[in-house]
């Protein structure tokens, strides 16, 4: 009997925790389908009795443009960050086993810098960053947002890819060197294909981070038409008397892409997170 009770308690604990953890997503999923009338009469945690798409209809019309803006900015940013970061990571990889003391101290220095760029509270760069973007004439411009994001996400890409590239056996690269292949060729023909799962993890991690970035688009966009999705949904903050079905519909629309990625490619996202913490196997 005892082991059965133990196992039951074990699962019960997990189920209770999961239920609590899922409350926000539950609220998000049910409330977007409530009609304006239902909103006035039902609390947030009670499911709707009838389904209405009106909130989605209204919100999607308003968020279509920000959604598109986000896609236009985030996908290229993530691809560029991962690719250029991977190139940088390969360079670090060749540095860490280089012959000279100078180069290996240099690599420590560069490494500290990319880690700083990855983890720094990017809000701290607000003033110089906006000035820089304004002086480049890129305020309210896709390129301006991308440029600002690249400052943080290329180093992130380099950091994560360094973790993933470090598992490529050194002898393979040495063999390629002896075979007369140049570094660019080694990178394209061997490093990239051999660290492809890591590349995908990094890409996905950066897509999600960039997609959810609120601050950079907040300060680099002044015209409503250029808003990215996390900033655009800000206008759905409710107060008393506001109709919350739109808030939740907006929340769903803003998170649908990262959540879909998480559901279908969660493994890669998790590997990206783990790489952020300097590796770790299992899971």
């Amino acid at each position: 009997m005892r082991p059965v009770i133990r196992a039951t308690l074990h699962y019960l604990a997990l189920v209770v925790i999961s239920a609590i953890w899922l409350i926000p997503v539950y609220a998000m999923l049910i409330n977007g389908f409530k009609s304006n009338l239902a909103v006035l009469s039902t609390p947030v945690l009670v499911p709707p009795t009838s389904f209405s798409l009106s909130a989605y209809h209204i919100v999607f019309n308003a968020l279509e443009r920000p959604l598109l803006n986000s896609l236009i900015v985030v996908i290229p940013t993530a691809l560029i960050s991962t690719f250029l970061g991977a190139m940088g990571a390969y360079f670090f990889y060749t540095l860490t086993y280089s012959f000279s003391k100078f180069l290996s101290s240099l690599s420590d220095f560069l490494f500290s810098l990319i880690t700083l760029a990855t983890f720094i509270p990017y809000q701290a760069t607000l003033i110089p960053l906006t000035r820089l973007v304004v002086s480049m004439g890129l305020l309210d411009n896709y390129l301006g947002i991308m440029f600002a994001m690249l400052i943080f996400y290329i180093p992130t890409g380099a950091l994560l890819m360094s973790m993933f590239i470090s598992v490529v056996p050194r002898s393979i690269i040495e063999a390629a060197k002896l075979d007369g292949a140049g570094d660019l060729k080694i990178f394209m023909k061997l490093i990239l294909p051999l660290s492809l799962p890591g590349f995908i993890s990094t890409l996905i991690f950066i897509i999600i981070e960039a997609w959810n970035n609120f601050f950079i688009p907040l300060v680099l966009v002044t015209t409503p038409g250029m808003r990215l999705i996390p900033v655009a949904v800000e206008s759905y903050t409710g107060g008393y008397g506001t109709i919350y079905n739109e808030t939740f519909a907006a929340a769903v629309i803003a998170s649908i892409i990262p959540l879909a990625i998480f559901i279908f490619l969660g493994r890669y996202f998790i590997r990206g997170l783990i790489a952020l913490g300097g590796g770790g196997k299992g899971v």
């Binding site: 074990h10 604990a13 925790i17 953890w21 997503v25 609220a27 947030v44 945690l45 250029l84 940088g88 390969y90 360079f91 990889y93 060749t94 540095l95 180069l103 810098l113 700083l116 983890f119 720094i120 509270p121 809000q123 701290a124 760069t125 607000l126 110089p128 690249l150 290329i154 180093p155 950091l159 360094s162 973790m163 470090s166 570094d183 660019l184 990178f187 959810n212 609120f214 300060v219 900033v231 949904v233 759905y236 008393y240 919350y244 808030t247 939740f248 907006a250 803003a254 998170s255 990262p258 959540l259 998480f262 998790i270 997170l273 783990i274 913490g277 300097g278 770790g280 196997k281 899971v283």
Partner: protein
């Protein structure tokens, strides 16, 4: 190593140097007097820092930031260990990854969206309080009282980030040689004993990583207080980065750069050792 390899690192370096430039620019300007009233900056030494540090709002937001980070580090680690052990002792890998996904999915959602959702969940009429009243408990004031406002915000970050610690503890546990655990089981050790005697003593690394990352992530949380308070001005929810943004919006540029430099310094105290110890160790195995 051939010189051609340097081409590969140029993009990464270029953008990293831009970042360094931004950080240094902040530091330099923080020694100048520059604001809406003084459009021509000139050198004033530490004066800006002194005046910033005397401000109630600065101290208030610094305390908030540290309070948030410290609480999240402590609670995140505790919950991380709890959740990771619950997950570790599951026998099915599939079930484990389902529960793990549930605990870490908030990491995939924008803090801005979290703010939207929790604003409603914290509603004292139709949010969680409705349930509390239904089951006969008293209402909790959440965001509607100044004393519970900030703890409510911290609660959201705990929900959002505990998964991070869970992940690192679980990864640490899974790295421990299975045969050791099996041997302990054969010796009759219960799960709790295995946790205490084998899993936790081998989790120093997970602890360091979780602590560093929880600190760094919480230190830069912006959209949550910003949206929960409808802008950067609510002093009860102001963290350092929000306060800095506030200084920017009112065009106290020098003060904003001084706060930014302080933020960068505090973060660097954690980031640099982390880079040089944990991450380098992994890469140079």
């Amino acid at each position: 190593m051939k010189k051609s390899a340097i081409i590969l690192v140029i993009p990464t370096m270029a953008f990293t140097i831009i970042l360094l430039y931004l950080v240094i620019w902040n530091a330099v300007v923080s020694f100048m007097n520059w604001s809406l009233l003084n459009p021509k900056p000139y050198f004033v030494g530490l004066q800006t820092y002194l005046s910033v540090m005397k401000q109630f709002q600065f101290v208030n937001s610094l305390v908030h930031s540290l309070e948030l980070s410290a609480t999240l580090v402590v609670v995140g680690n505790v919950l991380g260990i709890l959740f990771a052990s619950l997950l570790y002792f599951l026998s099915s890998n599939k079930v484990r990854s389902v529960f793990l996904s549930i605990i870490i999915y908030p990491l995939a959602i924008s803090m801005a969206v979290d703010a939207l959702i929790w604003l409603w969940l914290y509603n004292i009429d139709i949010g969680i309080d409705w349930v509390l009243v239904k089951i006969g408990l008293p209402k909790f004031p959440w965001l509607s009282s100044t004393s519970t406002m900030f703890p409510s915000l911290i609660l959201v970050t705990i929900w959002a980030y505990s998964g991070l610690a869970t992940l690192f503890y679980l990864a640490g546990f899974m790295n421990i040689d299975k045969t050791i655990i099996e041997a302990a089981k054969l010796d009759g050790a219960g799960s709790f004993k295995i946790l205490r005697k084998i899993l936790l003593p081998n989790s120093l690394n997970s602890f360091i990583i979780s602590t560093a990352l929880l600190f760094l992530f919480s230190f830069r949380i912006f959209s949550l207080p910003y949206i929960l308070s409808g802008g950067p001005t609510n002093i009860f929810l102001q963290t350092l980065v929000v306060y800095m943004y506030y200084l920017f919006t009112v065009e106290f540029f020098s003060q904003a750069t001084a706060v930014a430099t302080i933020v960068t310094l505090i973060a660097s105290i954690v980031i640099l050792p982390y880079a040089l110890v944990i991450i380098r160790r992994w890469i140079r195995r």
